[in-house]
Amino acid sequence: MLHIVACIKQVPDTKVIKMNPKTNTMDRASAPAILNPYDAHAVEEAVRLKNKHGGCVSVVTMGPPPAVKAIRKCIEIGADEGYMISDRAFAGADTLATSYALTKAINKISEIKPIDLIICGKMTIDGDTGQVGPGIARRLDIPPLTSVNKVVEIQKEDGYMVVHRKLEDGHEVVKTTLPCLLSVEKEINEVPYSTFPNMLKAARYQPVIWSVNDLEDIDRKQLGLKGSPTIVAKVWAPPKPEGGKLFEGNSDEQVQQLLSVVLEKKELFTEMRGSK
């Protein structure tokens, strides 16, 4: 029986996000909040391992009250329990403070039931740093394994597991002791459509919610904005690429114009030849 904890985050859907051109800020209201797509893969992998080996999957999130919705989405995928830490004290956390708070929550979950494995997504689509997973692993002093794209085997009795880590040109097969923390790539699995029973369960599900006072031995100085070494000093819209020069005329003429522009940069081609 395995107890797997997946860390999940609710994020604004960056695909539909709109910028306010006057203030250069994001119009958060314009973007629906969704479960971070990478975290769906983390939860799915946990559920697959549970189905194979038996056990239970808990998900944990740090976020504002509406993040309950993201937990429900995980129940739809097949998670059993959801925990949320939510408190003003956590606001403004960078990855160092986030991993600190989450580690405290994970410690509390492990008192309820010891944890064998923690799975995070590769990154979020809003902050997209990919730093929170390794941060949690270091704080718990368990091995962090990032870029995992396959779980080969897991042996709880013998206390180890074997995974594939994606490399730039292939993968490596790594054996690690348990417990450990994986950050998973999205290729690791496909998240299937939710089943009807899971949807029903999710709709009614109420996660356990802890405030900062519920977490033991917590050092408030390490939380939120105060506990964050990095500060976002300035935010601006990325420079708009200058509108392209559209060629004119019929296809042949346009192609000729393009050709003359590109071939004028002869050095591009000679350099390439030199490097061959």
């Binding site: 994001m26 997209d128 690690t176 559209l246 590109v262």
Partner: protein, 340 residues
């Protein structure tokens, strides 16, 4: 923490099978500028087995000092062992800034080191500057899927750390024979104490094509209609000696493998020439290619967003334009002008 104790700019030198990762050389270029502005040393830190010989290259690319941990335990990258060496070195010499490539190794290592130090870590930086007098690192990065840029500071902790995207900084022209101070270091780590073991490395030869390293990328989108239509993209790429890129929708349709995907969830490319053919120009695609030298878009819809992100555009049907391009480039490049 007394900031006066911290001095110098460091670059973590990533090495794979005896070769220095290009991003590390790029970071030495960027680091040189920062170090000069501060009037401090630029150092490379290298961890591996049989790597000391690479120090010369690091000097030639701008480092004043190279710290080397050359021990069998570092033959293959592992977070645990590399992190220990880096912490050891940084505690001993106290740099004010450490830069890492935002590669899977660099990000993995930097996140672990930042937690233990502890200090701030700015992710995926694309612009770097430093305040001359205070030494405050100004690290700017895209966030929210490239929708915004943010400048991140780490005012109260040292060292300041950042991972930096490959291909956005420029390596210096190497100066042959340029020399510096080599500092061999050692750390006592036993294999028995390691909790992770690399059992095997599998190189996938089909993945030989590295679109992030190509000078010319010819990328196609859903506008090509089908896998057969997408063949046009391959043809143009072959003619130009470039590699094939694709939008996510094309990858999801199964016309080409995932490692050809350009964009937020694919690969970031910075070729000298980028063709976007039948690609609409969604923000997630743009963030992966916007730093290319010349961006050329071909789309039959004059209002396609891609035309806001390209240098040159042709409004037209790919099935008419691309065969013409193939023919004309063939004539120009393989005929008399240049042989590629």
């Amino acid at each position: 923490m007394s900031f006066e104790d911290y001095s110098g700019v460091w670059v973590f030198i990533e090495e794979n099978e005896g070769k220095i990762a290009p991003v590390s050389l790029e970071l030495l270029g960027a680091g040189r500028t920062l170090a000069d502005k501060r009037g401090v040393e630029l150092a490379g830190i290298m961890i591996g087995e049989n790597v000391t010989g690479l120090a010369d290259t690091i000097f030639e690319y701008g480092a004043d000092t190279v710290y080397v941990y050359d021990q069998p335990i570092f033959k293959l990258y592992r977070t645990e062992s590399f992190m220990k060496a880096l912490l050891h070195c940084s505690e001993k010499y106290k740099p004010e800034i450490i830069l890492y490539g935002a590669t899977s190794t660099g990000k993995d290592l930097a996140s672990a080191v930042a937690t233990d130090l502890p200090t701030g870590l700015t992710a995926d930086t694309t612009e770097l500057d430093v305040e001359e007098d205070t030494g405050l690192l100004l690290a700017s990065r895209p966030a929210f899927g490239g929708n915004i840029m943010a400048t991140i500071l780490c005012k109260k902790y040292r060292p300041q750390m950042a991972t930096v995207r490959p291909k956005v900084m420029k390596a210096l022209q190497p100066e042959k024979g340029r020399n510096g101070k080599l500092v061999p270091e050692q750390i006592d780590i036993k294999e028995e104490d390691m909790r992770t073991k690399v059992l095997k490395i599998v190189r996938e030869t089909t993945k030989k094509i590295r679109i992030d390293e190509a000078d010319i990328v010819v990328a196609g989108g859903k506008g090509l209609g089908s896998e057969q239509g997408f063949e046009l993209v391959h043809q143009l790429a072959r003619t130009l000696g470039g590699v094939v890129g694709a939008s996510r929708d094309v990858v999801e349709a199964g016309w080409i493998g995932h490692h050809h995907q350009v964009g937020q969830t694919g690969v970031t490319v910075t070729p000298k020439i980028y063709f976007a053919i039948g690609i609409s120009g969604a923000i997630q695609h743009i963030v992966g290619m916007k730093n290319s030298g010349i961006i050329i878009a071909i789309n039959k819809d004059p209002d396609a967003a891609i035309f806001n992100s390209c240098h040159y555009g042709i409004v037209g049907d790919a099935f008419e334009i691309v065969p013409l391009l193939v023919k004309e480039f063939h004539k120009a490049l393989h005929g008399e002008e240049v042989e590629v």
